[in-house]
């Protein structure tokens, strides 16, 4: 009887302790975020997490409006967007993504090699045939056909486009001046496809097509993609390892006090795949609700440490180990009601 009374008394307390955390944003990391939430909930039933993959732009907007507790984005917030919310944001990298150059050229024995300037000039519309001298000279073993190159790009706004145009802006000054970088840009040539699936189906159905798609999507759907020469002059096949290497290569440019809003495209690592990027959680520097902030930081740190092991099997490149102390330092700085929430989380 006494124990029953105790149980009854404990019930409301347990209900009170439950925290509801809502997040929204990028679609690219959705699979691993949902997996993290599910796994984390098994050991932490008190934290009810909910993530809606509405797109990076929508995530940034809802996070800024305060309708969600955390956001997620494939493209970092701009300085003006950060200023608009009084600088109250931290970018916490979660996993890495990469963009591959996919094409429709049947019967090739090995992947096509691309140099940065060739990719830029194809997407600028300056190289229009597959047997252009600049392509054949770097692909000596391949017999590239004399067909037209049909450029396919994303028609919807997308973090994938951001990473790709960010890379092209770094390797081609002409691209930077004429087009620039963004989740949507004014493409000089080509057809627009909706989503990774729209681009890849258009590439698959159009002879001689070239497009850019997310690495995980290309691997899962067995879409052939090219090898790219990185800034060290090595030909790099996109893979989870070469993407993690890109982040590791970019670390020395970031430094321990980075705000993580760094582009890691065209990374200097010798084995780095050059068209890679972080994807971020967006977290406030200071929260009003201590319980929420504590639960959120606890979850994120779990995702950064234990959660990383799940990344490769779901098709995401894990963060380099060396990055963890820097992330931990950033999470420790989060406050609620003026007090740090980290210590209490331990």
């Amino acid at each position: 009887m006494k124990s029953l009374l105790l149980l009854l008394a404990a019930l409301p307390a347990a209900a009170l302790a439950q925290v509801q955390l809502n997040g929204a944003g990028a679609t690219f990391p959705n699979i691993i975020y949902q997996d993290w939430i599910l796994t984390y909930n098994q050991t932490h039933p008190d934290a009810k997490l909910n993530y809606q993959s509405i797109g990076s732009g929508g995530g940034i907007r809802q996070f800024s409006d305060g309708t969600v507790d955390f956001g997620a984005s494939d493209a970092p917030m701009t300085d003006s967007a950060i200023a608009a919310i009084g600088g109250n944001v931290l970018h916490i990298p979660t996993v890495l993504g990469a963009v591959v150059v996919a094409y429709n050229l049947p019967g090739l024995a090995q992947p096509v090699k691309f140099t940065p300037d060739v990719i830029a000039d194809i997407f600028l519309g300056k190289i229009t045939k597959w047997n252009d001298a600049r392509l054949t000279s770097i692909n000596a073993g391949l017999s590239l056909p004399a067909t037209d190159i049909v450029v396919v790009h994303r028609a919807d706004g997308s973090g994938t486009s951001f990473v790709f145009t960010d890379y092209l802006s770094k390797v081609s000054s002409e691209w930077q001046q004429k087009v620039g970088k963004g989740t949507s840009v004014n493409w000089p040539v080509g057809l627009g496809g909706r989503g990774n699936e729209g681009v890849s189906s258009t590439v698959n159905q159009t002879p001689g097509a070239i497009g850019y798609i997310e690495l995980g999507y290309a691997t899962a759907n067995k879409i052939p993609f090219g090898t790219v020469r990185n800034s060290s002059g090595n030909w790099i096949t996109p893979s989870l390892e070469s993407v993690t290497a890109a982040a590791a290569g970019a670390m020395k440019d970031m430094g321990p006090n980075t705000d993580f809003r760094v582009s890691i495209t065209n990374s200097t690592g010798p084995q780095a795949y050059p068209i890679a990027s972080f994807t971020w959680f967006l977290v406030h520097k200071s929260y009003a609700d201590t319980a929420k902030a504590r639960a959120l930081i606890q979850f994120i740190w779990w995702a950064e440490s234990e959660g990383q092991a799940k990344a490769p099997q779901l098709g995401y490149a894990p963060l380099p180990r060396d990055l963890h102390p820097w992330i931990q330092a950033r999470l420790k700085s989060v406050t609620a009601g003026g007090r740090a929430v980290w210590k209490a989380a331990e």
């Binding site: 509405i54 929508g58 706004g157 963004g182 496809g193 729209g198």
Partner: protein
């Protein structure tokens, strides 16, 4: 046989009947009932006004920034924050007109066949199957378009077209697949069931006496259809076509999957284009800056005004001919 005199049917006598009165004219429940109904009835027009208001306020920053030039400039550059909707307005109108060019003869043929020429046992199955086309989800049309229609156009339609009409400006350039042509053809297939179904109703409403009169004058079946049946149902048929046009203007998913989504104006059917509905669907969720979002709102406002205008024209046409007692107005 072009000038068969067509009798308009006699005007029905005007009924003037007193409004039925309740015994307790001012009963409370009656008044509540009446105000609830009035509320619902006024709610829908109010909703349209609210939509218009939201679109307008959303579009205000873009309206202020670009003014009327938004309508005729062609650059759509989210990086430089310069927006012009001309390619999308052009693409919307061009793809819809192309769809009408293909769909109207097809749908009218179906309707005439079903009402005038088809053996009785074939009527219902064909009508049912044609109307079934309207039940297929848009995204299924889009997928079918990518995997079946575009390869078919590439292999069997574009080469002969180019061989015959390759010198015209409408068939310049290389056909890559996703294009104004593919978008227009898929739209045509999608609006055929609407035009065919309404046209069939209209033609069914044409009195048998009209056909009999023409046939009695020695007209062939075809001449009877051309000179008696079709003119009689003209208003309804025009209404059917404009309903199809209204649907084509706003169609989104299938078009965006096939039209190529390129902000460009070109008269060649083989080139990619863009429509307003497709641009909104593609770009709205990731429109990160206020001006970008506002420009898309303004595109939505233009599309709204365009479709409302088209539907208003349809209504006016139907009303005008309906006053002349043409059939078909009732079928709508």
């Amino acid at each position: 046989m072009t000038s068969l005199p067509i009798e308009s049917p006699p005007r029905p006598p005007r009924l003037t009947r007193p409004r039925p009165q309740s015994l307790h004219a001012t009963d409370r429940s009656d008044r509540i009932y009446r105000s609830v109904l009035t509320g619902f009835a006024l709610g829908l027009p109010l909703l349209i006004l609210i939509i218009l208001g939201v679109l307008f306020t959303g579009a205000l920053p873009a309206l202020k920034r670009f003014g009327p030039t938004f309508l005729w400039t062609s650059t759509w550059d989210p990086v430089a924050e310069v927006y012009g909707a001309a390619p999308m307005i052009f693409g919307t109108l061009a793809s819809s007109l192309l769809a009408l060019l293909i769909a109207v003869p097809l749908a009218l043929s179906v309707a005439v066949f079903l009402t005038e020429f088809s053996p009785g046992w074939l009527r219902q199955p064909v009508a049912f199957l044609v109307e079934l086309l309207a039940a297929i989800p848009s995204v299924v049309y889009g997928t079918w378009g990518i995997f079946v229609l575009i390869p078919f156009l590439r292999a069997h339609v574009v080469p002969p077209l180019k061989a015959v009409l390759g010198w015209t400006p409408f068939l310049q350039g290389v056909f890559y697949g996703n294009s104004l042509l593919a978008g227009g053809v898929i739209l045509a297939i999608m609006i055929v069931p609407y035009i065919a179904a309404v046209s069939r109703e209209v033609l069914l409403a044409v009195p048998a006496s009209q056909r009999e009169a023409a046939l009695a004058m020695g007209a062939t079946r075809w001449e009877a259809v051309r000179s008696a049946v079709l003119p009689y149902g003209r208003a309804g048929l025009i209404g059917a076509v404009i309903l199809g046009l209204g649907r084509a203007l706003g169609e989104t998913m299938a078009v965006t999957m096939l039209i190529g989504n390129r902000h460009d104006i070109g008269v060649s059917l083989l080139q990619p284009a863009y429509t307003m509905a497709a641009a909104i669907a593609n770009e709205f969720s990731e429109a990160t800056t206020n001006l970008y979002q506002s420009a898309l709102f303004e595109v939505g406002l233009i599309l709204f005004v365009l479709t409302v205008t088209v539907n208003a024209i349809a209504r006016v046409l139907i009303w005008r001919v309906a006053r002349g007692q043409a059939v078909g107005s009732r079928a709508l």
